[in-house]
């Protein structure tokens, strides 16, 4: 086996270049790279428009939960080669990407399945939080329905 498999989580206040994330998972053995980009929507909530999101993270634990998530992905889809997630912290304006993730595999089935699972499980388990900021200068902390202890938890 040539390259060592990579699991990379980068948390950064900087704008995310998608190409960097793609380059991080590229490999001569992979015929497929699946990419997910989460962007900030201009939602309207109770007559107030979202102008941006403010993100924070428990960084040490985000890394350890990410490692567990990658282990789970690799158990389910063993041909997955590299996994790279860049997540923004701090202020993210409407229209900008908050998260970019890329997963490579020799053939497309595994990377496509894995990328779906990756974003769902990140939303359920990785300690990152976002606050919606509105054009009225009010703000509210969001809760993912995937998170088991949210008020609106799924199933």
């Amino acid at each position: 086996m040539s390259d060592e498999r990579r699991d990379i989580l980068k948390l950064s206040r900087d704008w995310l270049p998608v190409q960097d994330v793609v380059d991080a998972v590229s490999s001569a053995s992979c015929g497929s790279i699946s990419v997910f980009i989460g962007t900030t929507r201009e939602d309207e909530v109770d007559g107030r428009k979202v102008v941006g999101l403010e993100y924070e993270a428990y960084e040490l634990m985000a890394q350890s939960e990410f490692i567990k998530l990658c282990g789970d992905i690799r158990e389910r889809w063993p041909t997955v080669t590299h996994i790279c997630v860049h997540h923004r912290l701090g202020w993210v304006m409407v229209g900008e990407a908050s998260v970019v993730m890329a997963i490579s595999s020799p053939h497309r089935h595994d990377s496509q399945q894995a990328i779906n699972h990756c974003i769902s499980q990140l939303k359920a388990n990785v300690p990152i939080w976002k606050k919606e900021v509105y054009d009225t200068q009010e703000a509210s902390w969001k809760e993912n329905s995937e998170c088991p202890w949210a008020a609106v938890a799924e199933g």
């Binding site: 974003i119 359920a124 902390w141």
Partner: protein, 87 residues
Amino acid sequence: MTSQVFVFYFAKSVELTGVKQEEVTAVPTPISSRDLWNLLVQRHPRLSILQGQVVLAVRQQYVDIGDQVVTLGDGDEVAVVPPLSGG
């Protein structure tokens, strides 16, 4: 036995306590997660607003608030973890 731990607050819990992190001394150990939560609510009563929609993390492992017993050593990290909203 008691320990001295670092408690980290995140998201809404920062707004409720006015604090991002603090050292808490003389925390009994072993302790149930419910008693640990109650100890933090005693320090910051507004934390009770999160009741039912919060978990703790001890040494970076999630712990539901309930009967589960945790042991705490000096310098251990405890975190108050409101519902996640990454991605």
